[in-house]
């Protein structure tokens, strides 16, 4: 009998039930979409912030870097890292968080006879096939995304353009170079001719340099198999007190703190792991990028959390409201049931069962729709899918059930308290 009544309610009142289910679905989809986006926003924004370039630099332990601004006399013997050690960066504990890296080797060359031009050997879009099966294109094409290519194109290493270089805008203007020209580079050990693949405008000191494939710079500098420094772009967790303490001296941590620090992707723990992997190097965080990144990530996340809370409250109140309205609408029906002798308990059981069934159907539809909305946001804003977080399913389920009950129970109780005669009379 109970089931027949419920079935009857759904068949006869399908329009009203549909409306309730629709509202619950809307609320649930809102909650699903916002929760999914909120939980994934940190990763997504982190990826976007990679446009600021590397957040870790690795240099040889005894590097004398004084040659930077002025040619200071009494330069110490330059220190190098080995090119063969480069792959080890992708073997550290947090290897998956390392999204990009490139080696750099600087040397002075003569360009078309003009001496004292800075030549930087590096990777452009170097293809790496890692032993783990991962494929990765690493190099300055992605690490220097803010460069404007004024003429020509990015040097394409994968097209085996071995004898090509990219020239900074300042040098190109000074020497009258254009994309497609052929230049002669004379280094400490030999001479190479190269095609100018492109002219870039970096809006900084880099405009005064020529960028060449790594092996060309090594040949010109007589430094086969050596590199000067490495820039690493890693996805990191914003620093907290533990990370700051560890960055100063990892030895000061207790064993459990050390483990927690080592197994969290703080910029300091990634630096530490790189230093473990590559002998005689110093890996340090580029504070301009690393610190700011953490700050912006935190703010974005907090913003999304608050917007999510608002939408959750909104959808919860919306559902409660509608359920209350729809229960009140049935006052006459409930009065009639009471008048023909039904127990209060069986009436509320009936109404609640109907509402819970509707809520489950609506919630399931809403979850699907909400996940769709999350994908719309992911694809149109970040150009990639929002990861499905399993945690969202129980949260939305509990929210929908609780909220439907919260909306219906007080209304049912207040209606049952009324005298059936009065209710039927229409008061």
């Amino acid at each position: 009998m109970f089931f027949r009544m419920i079935k009857g309610a759904f068949v006869r009142q399908w329009k009203k039930m549909l409306m309730i289910a629709l509202t619950i679905a809307l609320g649930a989809s809102l909650a699903t979409a916002m929760l999914n986006v909120m939980m994934d926003v940190e990763d997504k924004v982190n990826q976007e912030l990679k446009t600021y370039g590397a957040n870790i630099t690795v240099s040889p332990k005894n590097a004398s870097i004084l040659q930077d601004l002025y040619d200071v006399e009494g330069q110490a013997e330059a220190a190098y890292l080995k090119e063969s050690e480069l792959g080890k960066i992708k073997t550290i504990f947090w290897a998956n968080n390392i999204v990009d890296f490139a080696p750099f080797l600087e040397t002075d060359v003569a360009l078309n006879g003009e001496a004292g031009v800075k030549l930087v050997g590096t990777w452009f879009n170097h293809h790496l096939s890692l032993p783990t099966g991962e494929e990765l294109d690493a190099g300055v094409t992605s690490l220097r995304s803010w460069w404007d290519i004024a003429e020509g194109e990015w040097l394409d290493e994968q097209a085996h353009e071995d004898d090509a270089v990219m020239v900074g805008a300042a040098i190109a203007a000074r020497l009258g170079l254009h994309a497609g020209d052929t230049v002669t580079l004379t280094g400490g050990s030999g001479e190479r001719t190269a095609r100018v693949a492109g002219v870039f405008d970096a809006g900084g000191d880099e405009d005064d340099a020529v960028y060449a494939p790594l092996h060309m710079a090594q040949a010109l500098a007589d430094a086969e198999g050596l590199i000067g420094s490495i820039e690493v772009s890693a996805l990191t967790t914003p620093d907290n007190e533990l990370a700051i303490k560890a960055a100063q001296d990892p030895g000061s941590l207790s064993i459990s703190q050390y483990e927690l620090w080592y197994c969290t992707a703080y910029v300091s723990s990634i630096c530490y792991q790189i230093m473990e992997a590559i002998p005689d190097c110093v890996a340090s965080a580029v504070r301009q990028v690393a610190d700011s990144e953490g700050e912006i990530l935190e703010k974005t996340k907090l913003l999304m959390v608050l917007i999510t809370v608002l939408s959750l409250i909104g959808s919860a109140l919306g559902i409660t409201n509608l359920v209350t309205a729809s229960v009140m609408e049935r006052s006459q029906e409930m009065g009639l049931m009471k008048a023909v002798g039904a127990h209060s308990r069986s009436i509320s059981g009936l109404v609640l069962t109907e509402i819970i069934i509707t809520a489950i159907v609506g919630g399931a539809i809403g979850y699907g729709a909400g996940f769709g909305f999350a994908q719309v946001i992911g694809h149109s804003v970040f150009g990639s899918a929002i990861e499905m977080k399993l945690m969202v399913v129980p949260i939305v389920a509990v929210l929908v059930i609780l909220v439907s009950l919260a909306g219906s129970v007080p209304a049912i109780r207040s209606l049952l308290k009324l005298d059936p005669a009065e209710v039927l009379h229409g008061h």
Partner: protein, 384 residues
């Protein structure tokens, strides 16, 4: 006159008598209006607030001397920076670089304004204290390691004037500094010695000469380009340059964040508005019998629709007003918690929220009322 009085009495009586139902409807409208005004306020304010956060990436504009002169003066920098709105200028740090010797080994000394450097490069991490006066110095981590100097130590810097090469005996100028802090940036600044501009002038004997000035200016790339053009035209001695790495990346990331907030706002609003409409529909369709009764008593369809619209208008107006206030309070709370700054009230948003609330309420009422008036009153009253 009488007619209008009656109309108002009917609307207000209907709202008052059916208190609990109307409360439900009002709550629905208020939620919708709160979300509308709160999210739109945030959407308008996010670029400004987020832009301020991006200033933690440091200087995005640099002044250098024009190609034919040998340096900038403080006056030129001041005249150029005066062309930037005071509220957009987050920080300005002038720099003058000279090569000096400490213990006979060369180090680059940078003369700057410490407060300016602190505001243009908020990511500088100083162990110890920032120098607060003349005779005090901040040293880079690399310098600290080379000379084994730390906060509290003193160092003696020696400057050999430029003409020393051909002159027979030029006395090098010597000054002693107290190290107050060690600078950690992960960049080339770690190899420098930072002193005040006055100390630099005393050390070199040359006054009022700057190499570059770093500026941190809030605003997007187009605004910065405008400023750069204005400065290049207004103060020809100064060449302004944008730090592409910072401006371009900020542009990319900020655009994405804005798009994110926009899309979220649109989806949340859309869903909320539909939610409000369904609730209104539920509340109104409950009154089919009332509509039928009125029709049976001889009320015209138009007057019934007008009455419901009037109720909707009142509900929408009150809900919109409440929602505007609550929404602003929410936006203010977000701004305080996330960005530590308050939000400006958008006066236009108040009428907009009220109008949207009224429209949504009105439209939501319309279809159930129409369907009730279309049907024969006898059928409606019978309950079919």
């Amino acid at each position: 006159m009488k007619r209008q009085q009656m109309y108002f009495r009917m609307i207000s009586a209907s709202l008052l008598r059916r208190r609990s139902r109307m409360l439900v409807a009002l709550l629905a409208v208020t939620i919708g209006a709160t979300i509308l005004s709160g999210l739109v306020t945030i959407y308008y304010d996010v670029p400004r607030q987020m832009g301020a956060q991006f200033r933690s990436y440091g200087a995005n504009m640099i002044f250098t001397a024009a190609a034919d002169s040998d340096g900038l003066t403080t006056d030129q920098v001041e005249r150029a920076s005066a062309l930037i709105d005071a509220e957009d200028l987050v920080g300005l740090a002038p720099y003058r670089y000279e090569s000096v010797r400490i213990n006979e080994r060369p180090v680059i000394a940078a003369g700057t304004d410490m407060a300016g450097a602190q505001s243009t490069s908020p990511y500088w991490f100083v162990t110890g204290e920032w120098p607060s006066g003349d005779g005090e110095a901040l040293i880079g981590k690399a310098v600290s390691n080379t000379y084994r100097l730390g906060p509290g130590d003193t160092l003696t810097a020696q400057y050999v004037p430029e003409h020393a090469a051909d002159a027979e005996e030029v006395e090098p100028i010597e000054r002693t500094f107290k190290v107050t802090g060690v600078l950690d940036t992960g960049g080339s600044e770690e190899e420098y010695l930072f002193i005040s501009l006055a100390d630099m002038a005393a050390l070199t004997g040359v006054d009022d000469r700057l190499d570059v000035a770093e500026l941190s200016v809030s605003g997007g790339q187009p605004k910065l380009e405008e400023y750069a053009e204005a400065i290049a035209a207004g103060v020809p001695e100064v060449t302004p340059r944008l730090v592409k790495r910072v401006t371009q990346s900020e542009n990319t990331v900020l655009k994405k964040l804005q798009a994110l907030v926009l899309l979220v706002t649109v989806i949340v609003l859309l869903l909320t508005m539909i939610c409000v409409s369904t609730t209104m529909m539920a509340v109104v369709s409950e009154r089919r019998k009332e509509i039928g009764l009125r029709k049976a008593l001889g009320a015209s369809d138009n007057s019934i629709i007008m009455e419901f619209m009037g109720e909707g208008l009142l509900l929408g107006g009150i809900g919109g007003l409440l929602g505007s206030g609550l929404g602003f309070a929410f936006a203010q709370m977000v701004s305080r918690n996330v960005f530590n700054s308050s939000i400006t009230f958008q006066p236009l948003l108040l009428p907009a929220t009220i109008v949207v609330s009224i429209l949504v309420t009105g439209l939501a009422c319309l279809s159930p009322v129409r369907s009730a008036t279309d049907v024969d009153p006898a059928l409606v009253l019978k309950g079919e």
